[in-house]
Symmetry: C2
Subunit: 257 residues, 2 copies
């Protein structure tokens, strides 16, 4: 008989309507009091069911407006080509991609001197807490917060490439700037994970409950040692990453989408 609690029945019924298309993306759900009548449940019980759907990322709620079915539109980042020698770094490749997609990119930028967090220090093979240059970038697409990117450079590198520590963009791109100073990035190590956003991340990316973040950590190497560590935090509902590996000549003509 496996009777489900009432708030789950509410959630399941609404989820079916959403999945089945009866409630298409962008549409409004009935109000809490309407649902309360329909399911013969108290308002609080209906709210429990709705909050389940919110935490699954299916719907959003806004005070005074109501509940709305989320619409999904993802932006795809090619991580294996990003930062090819031909591409500038620090958002320029990203801006180009976004513009090509017919969207309007925008970013804020700042530079700080920061002690290296433990995970970064480990990857840069410097002592935890030793000073690094942090170049931080907050990215928007059509004014929607999209991702944050924090790149740490070790102190020894900054001595050879002092403009890293100066505020403001490096027009030609940091990768090229570094290459011009004899620091060439010949490989990188990417780590990808996911989790729910911290309150800080939720604020910066303006995500509510039910939307995880996608974490991308890239450690760049010269011929003899790590030269940078970049941590990108994506809104999980708006971004997807891809890697092209090996011979993909069979793919070139007809890509999905």
């Amino acid at each position: 008989m496996n009777k489900q609690p009432k708030y789950r029945q509410v959630a399941d019924a609404l989820r079916r309507e959403i999945d089945g298309g009866a409630l298409p993306p962008g549409s409004r759900l009935p109000s809490e009091s309407e649902l309360s009548a329909r399911f013969d449940a108290s308002r609080n019980t209906v709210r429990s069911g709705l909050s389940l759907l919110v935490s699954e990322g299916l719907i959003t709620s806004s005070q005074g407006l109501g509940y709305e079915v989320r619409s999904h539109e993802v932006f795809e980042l090619n991580a294996s080509q990003f930062e090819n020698l031909n591409f500038p770094q620090n958002g320029d490749a990203y801006s180009t991609d976004v513009t090509n997609a017919g969207r309007r990119p925008h970013q804020t930028f700042r530079v700080e001197m920061k002690p290296a967090p433990e995970d970064v220090a480990e990857r840069l093979t410097v002592e935890a807490g030793s000073t690094t240059v942090l170049r931080f970038c907050h990215r928007f697409v059509d004014d929607v917060p999209w991702s944050t990117q924090a790149t740490h450079y070790p102190a020894w590198l900054v001595e050879q490439a002092p403009r890293l520590a100066e505020p403001g963009d490096i027009a030609e791109g940091t990768t090229r700037y570094l290459a011009a100073h004899g620091i060439e990035q010949v490989g990188y190590f990417d780590e990808i994970s996911t989790r729910m956003p911290t309150p800080d991340e939720a604020r910066l990316l303006e995500v509510g409950a039910g939307v995880p973040v996608l974490l991308w950590m890239r450690t760049g190497y010269s011929g003899d040692r790590p030269i940078r560590c970049t941590i990108t935090t994506f809104r999980g509902d708006l971004n997807r990453m891809n890697y092209e590996i090996g011979d993909l000549s069979a793919r070139s003509e007809n890509e999905p989408q």
Copy 2:
């Protein structure tokens, strides 16, 4: 003055204690009634605060036991070496990795004939709904559900390599079996995304609220066309993926962790 609602104050206070180490991973939180007294709030208000932390993936709850601080232990998968010509596919590489990590792997396996879902059909360049062979694998580490993996092979391939459609493992690994039949995978295209689990996924992976899944879709190519599409669903709290790209000779000696 920016006064926070009481349930957020509760969540913030407990989050600080967790982040600060006063409540280490694995430890029990005070009971709801204790917290209710401590914060001078009703039990329901305390529950709202706790459920926030649950949805952030910081704590778990179990009936009759209480709330517990989550402990995190991640398993890392090297996606760029996985399935090198030297490695068998379909879990064997995975099992090897897991065993090397001193853990006990375990998996269930089944084979079905299935119409291709739209996204898979697109990637295999076959018509949506046309028949594919689905080889499905449910993986555990020390009896904890870890990931699911579903590989679709197009019908034309199965004619050339009939054992794909037979139930049961292919001892030498499917990649090698295919290579022996003249189908060599020369490249692949990986797509990575994240979202909250569907109820089905939550059941298979035994994840509660607050734990996203990491989705990995790999399309493998021969010299002229796509030969398979593998969709892996990881528990986001237990897994991390990495890619090694370019020259990483500077990394080989001292890897992080």
